[in-house]
């Protein structure tokens, strides 16, 4: 009798703590960053479920409208597993952004992720993808007609010239 009396409030407290943490995590996890005039980046950390995908898409669309951006870099470097469900969520985000006239590049694919997507038979033929955020940014610059050149007299040259002049 005394046991059940103490367990119920403890469980309720636990439940509340979990809810609070969930709210905190969902706020933390969907930052939309303006990396350049007209270029947004959306780094995704952790797994993507339906609720999160919706939050993400919503905040992304708002930012596209607010900033008038043309290109979005969807960075999935920190997404551990990309399965059919995650891929579907990502594609929905891509399609939604496209309706606003923004081009979405999915960047940060590992070779493992790429192979998994191919094996799962997920059609990404209409989506532009790149292995790294840097490659995506370089492509975004060239789409916007921008060129990055080293300062005159600068002795510091990048290891990969492709990164600077796409």
């Amino acid at each position: 009798m005394s046991e059940t009396g103490s367990v119920a409030p403890a469980q309720a407290g636990l439940q509340e703590a979990i809810e609070q943490q969930r709210a905190t995590i969902s706020e933390l996890l969907t930052p939309v960053i303006e990396v350049w005039d007209g270029i947004l980046a959306l780094p995704i950390v952790g797994s993507v479920d339906t609720a999160r995908a919706q939050d993400m898409t919503e905040s992304l669309l708002e930012r596209i409208v607010a900033t008038g951006s043309e290109i979005v870099l969807l960075d999935i470097t920190a997404v551990p597993v990309v399965d059919t469900a995650v891929a579907r969520h990502l594609l929905e985000t891509v399609s939604a952004a496209r309706l606003l006239g923004a081009d979405v590049f999915i960047v940060g694919l590992s070779s493992r992720t790429a192979m998994t997507l191919v094996q799962l038979g997920i059609d990404l033929s209409h989506v532009t993808t790149r292995a790294t955020l840097a490659k995506g940014l370089a492509l975004a610059f060239s789409r916007l007609g921008l060129v990055v050149i080293p300062q005159a007299g600068s002795t510091r040259h990048p290891a990969n010239p492709d990164r600077v002049t796409p």
């Binding site: 694919l109 590992s110 070779s111 493992r112 992720t113 790429a114 192979m115 997507l117 191919v118 094996q119 990404l124 033929s125 993808t129 790149r130 292995a131 790294t132 840097a134 490659k135 492509l139 060239s142 789409r143 990969n160 492709d162 796409p166």
Partner: protein, 123 residues
């Protein structure tokens, strides 16, 4: 069993397949290419099959998978030097390798990759 050597020439990776390509080596090639492309070192892959006498359905499918995975990592794949007999067999088997670019030789493959790259920037 022999690992397919991958040469990096500028920002193109060239894999020259020797004589027979066994399943194990083909999977190793896929893995090696993936790890290189993941680092963003290349925008194109050329696979030379000029000395390969037989291509079975497994290998054909794997070439398709390599091309698809490479595209996701930002690189186009061009297969060169398939022998006429091999091509006839592939077509007869219904393996037309969609999504894989073909070229007559390595030189034409490099020209094709350069063209694809220009096209992508403009788009």
């Amino acid at each position: 069993m022999e690992r397919v050597p991958i040469i990096r020439l500028g920002d193109v990776l060239i894999g020259t397949v020797q004589d027979e390509l066994y399943d194990h080596d083909a999977l190793q090639l896929q893995e090696d290419l993936g790890l290189l492309l993941e680092r963003g070192v290349a925008h194109g892959v050329v696979l030379d099959f000029s000395t390969v006498a037989t291509v079975d359905s497994f290998l054909a499918r794997l070439i398709g998978a390599i091309a698809a995975a490479s595209r996701l990592l930002g690189a186009a794949t061009v297969v060169v030097g398939l022998q006429p007999a091999v091509e006839v067999t592939l077509v007869a088997l219904g393996l037309t390798l969609p999504g894989v670019h073909m070229a007559l030789n390595a030189e034409k493959a490099l020209a094709l990759l350069a063209y694809l790259r220009r096209d992508e920037r403009g788009g």
